[in-house]
């Protein structure tokens, strides 16, 4: 139940068919020819550098605070350079916040949600993009409409459902409500409408392949780049999701964001410990960002509303 959704193109289906690749390529040529993108001046670099520092500094400082001891953190001026206690503090945070368990839980939750979201979104996205059926447009409008529904509004009945099912404090309670995502469906629809030629689907039909076989052998290979992006973005959202896991899980079986609240709950706040926990919880995603940064950035941009 992530409140933060993916970006999507909200243009109407009719318009996308006009904007096929050739038109786009032409536009790009035109743009380059005109030299519209001005070169950045020194001021641009300075401003962007400031923004980059502001973006990264809190994370850097998390690491600094996590590597010192408590008395050093609460001195003025505050420390700016890493201290010697990083691994001690990480180990303590690992124990006190049940981080091991939380990491495993978060990996399971985010992994299952991302896999299922990607699979079902590709399946439905393919149907909406390339198959003809009655009520297609209405159903697609319904999908888009559901993006506007904030999950918090249904949280009370959902909690009651989960306790009736006996899923309270258990991972299925977090996983099941988020198995699909409207934004994911729309994202895949937009991608496949452009990337998958109609002729390929028709060729498959002529060869006598049934729909599932076409999906498996023709659509999946084409969709792979978009699926990878959708997987990463969904994984980030599921890993970071807070409200619903906080409501339905408890400290004996938390996800990472839920476990982190445990660290700050005490009366005596051990700041280095808290920061070590925050660092631990963020590290897996940071590694993912460093490795796949380009893909995630281009994925978010590819899904954005154009024009």
């Amino acid at each position: 139940m992530s409140t933060e959704s993916l970006p999507v193109r909200t243009d109407t289906p009719a318009r996308t068919s006009e904007r096929r690749t050739p038109a786009r390529g032409g536009r790009r040529l035109l743009r380059q020819g005109a030299g519209r993108q001005h070169h950045a001046g020194p001021l641009t670099y300075v401003l962007l550098a400031v923004m980059a520092v502001l973006s990264i500094f809190p994370l850097y400082w998390t690491m600094v605070a996590a590597s010192t001891d408590n008395t050093r953190v609460s001195q003025t001026p505050p420390p700016f350079l890493p201290g010697p206690n990083l691994f001690d503090n990480l180990a303590r945070a690992w124990d006190e916040a049940a981080m091991g368990k939380a990491m495993i839980n978060s990996t399971i939750v985010a992994g299952v949600i991302a896999l299922s979201t990607v699979f079902f979104a590709t399946l439905a996205g393919f149907a909406f993009a390339k198959l003809r059926f009655k009520g297609r447009n209405i159903l697609l409008m319904l999908v888009i409409g559901t993006m506007m529904v904030p999950p918090q509004l249904g949280v009370v009945p959902l909690f009651m459902m989960m306790s009736e099912l006996g899923w309270s404090q258990r991972l299925p309670a977090v996983i099941f409500p988020t198995l699909v995502s409207a934004v994911g469906v729309f994202f895949m629809r937009q991608y496949l409408a452009e990337a998958l030629p109609d002729e390929l689907v028709e060729a498959g039909r002529v060869d006598g392949a049934h729909s599932l076989r076409i999906f498996w052998s023709i659509v999946l290979p084409v969709a792979r780049p978009a699926m990878a992006v959708l997987f990463m973005i969904t994984f980030v959202h599921a890993w970071n999701d807070f409200f619903w896991p906080f409501v339905v899980l408890d400290m004996t079986n938390p996800t990472v964001p839920v476990a982190l609240t445990q660290l700050s709950a005490g009366y005596i706040r051990d700041q280095s410990l808290i920061m070590a926990g925050a660092l631990l919880g963020t590290l897996p995603l940071l590694v993912m960002f460093i490795v796949f940064g380009r893909q995630i950035v281009s994925g978010i941009m590819a899904g954005a509303v154009k024009g």
Binding site: R27, R36, A52, P78, P157, S211, P221, T261
Partner: protein
């Protein structure tokens, strides 16, 4: 995305020649029937998982919320529902905590959304220049997006600490008095908004950047020929050119702001922070919803708060629509 490689890759997927059909007539007829069934039925089967899961875990709870809000339900005995008609709504209306939370949700929403989107617009404009290291700057501005509410709020809570926090230290360094960020209403709301702004500015900037890159060059040329300055080009070509993206981010941010929960909760020292400060000075509707349901054990009243959030959202969009219509009629 790599559209060009896909058609090349397709060849491998499709596999050898089509399977041989049965030679006799009945086999072919059965095959044709199956084929028709497949073509007609498969699309529904493909979209069904989405609608089934959505109906069960999103739509049904949403509708059921209104039914629960007409009952008295306690957390310990969830199966006992006592009909109370509109009592919950009347009590909520007369509850000063509700109006306080509503006000806080609106003020925090405004001071986090407006600067965030303006800064995203500026950042996107900068990123749109041709430059070295553009990928680095894009990834860097997206790094906060990878941070969870939990981690971000914990770090900022420390930076905003009264006695040894870095922000008060920096204020002192330039000769300003320290601010009690947690205890005072506006400083606390500003601090919470800072967390939201930090996490989402880069993400919105990338959405704007993508839209900016789709603006046709000739519009800029025409503006330049008319003698428009860089600033005029920005306000008269770029901003109108990405209007639908701006509207989209406003909608998303509004929905997010209405539900604000993790940031104020953790800023108020973890799970005990549902009160939103000693004077509820930063308690949002999200926190009130949780407090009523899971601290005061009144699920019916909690559902009523959820309904109030829904109405707030509807109201915001109706007002936005009205403003837009007024503006259109005035200009035409």
């Amino acid at each position: 995305m790599a559209t060009s490689t896909t058609s090349a890759r397709l060849g491998e997927g499709r596999g050898g020649p089509p399977a041989k059909r049965g030679g006799d007539g009945t086999g072919r007829r059965r095959g044709a029937l199956l084929h028709r069934l497949d073509v007609k039925g498969a699309p529904y089967a493909f979209v069904a998982p989405f609608f089934v899961v959505f109906a069960a875990f999103s739509f049904y709870p949403l509708v059921y919320t209104s039914w629960i809000s007409l009952h008295r339900v306690e957390l310990a005995t969830l199966d006992v529902m006592e009909w109370v008609a509109f009592d919950n709504y009347v009590e909520l209306w007369n509850d000063s905590r509700f109006w306080n939370a509503l006000g806080n949700t609106i003020t925090i929403g405004v001071i986090s959304t407006v600067p965030q989107l303006l800064m995203a617009l500026g950042l996107a404009h900068l990123l749109n220049y041709r430059m070295r290291g553009s990928l680095f700057f894009r990834v860097a501005s997206l790094v906060p997006y990878a941070t969870s509410v939990g981690a971000a709020a914990l770090v900022f809570t420390m930076l905003f600490e009264r006695d040894f926090g870095m922000i008060n230290w920096a204020l002192g360094a330039v000769g300003l008095d320290p601010v009690d960020w947690e205890a005072d209403k506006w400083p606390a709301q500003i601090a919470i908004s800072t967390i939201v702004i930090w996490r989402w500015t880069g993400y919105n900037a990338l959405l704007y950047l993508a839209a900016m890159q789709a603006i046709p060059a000739d519009r800029y040329e025409a503006a330049a020929i008319d003698g428009a300055s860089r600033w005029k080009q920005f306000t008269h070509v770029t901003v109108p050119g990405i209007r639908s993206t701006i509207v989209f981010t406003i909608v998303l941010s509004t929905i997010g702001a209405t539900q604000l929960f993790g940031e104020p909760l953790i800023f108020g020292q973890g799970p005990n922070g549902v009160a939103g400060g000693a004077d509820n000075q930063y308690q949002t509707l999200g926190l009130l919803l949780y407090e009523e349901g899971w601290k005061n054990y009144q699920m019916g009243r909690s559902a009523t708060v959820a309904w109030a959030m829904f109405l707030l959202l509807v109201l915001v969009f109706v007002v936005q629509r009205l403003i837009r219509r007024l503006r259109v009629t005035r200009t035409s």
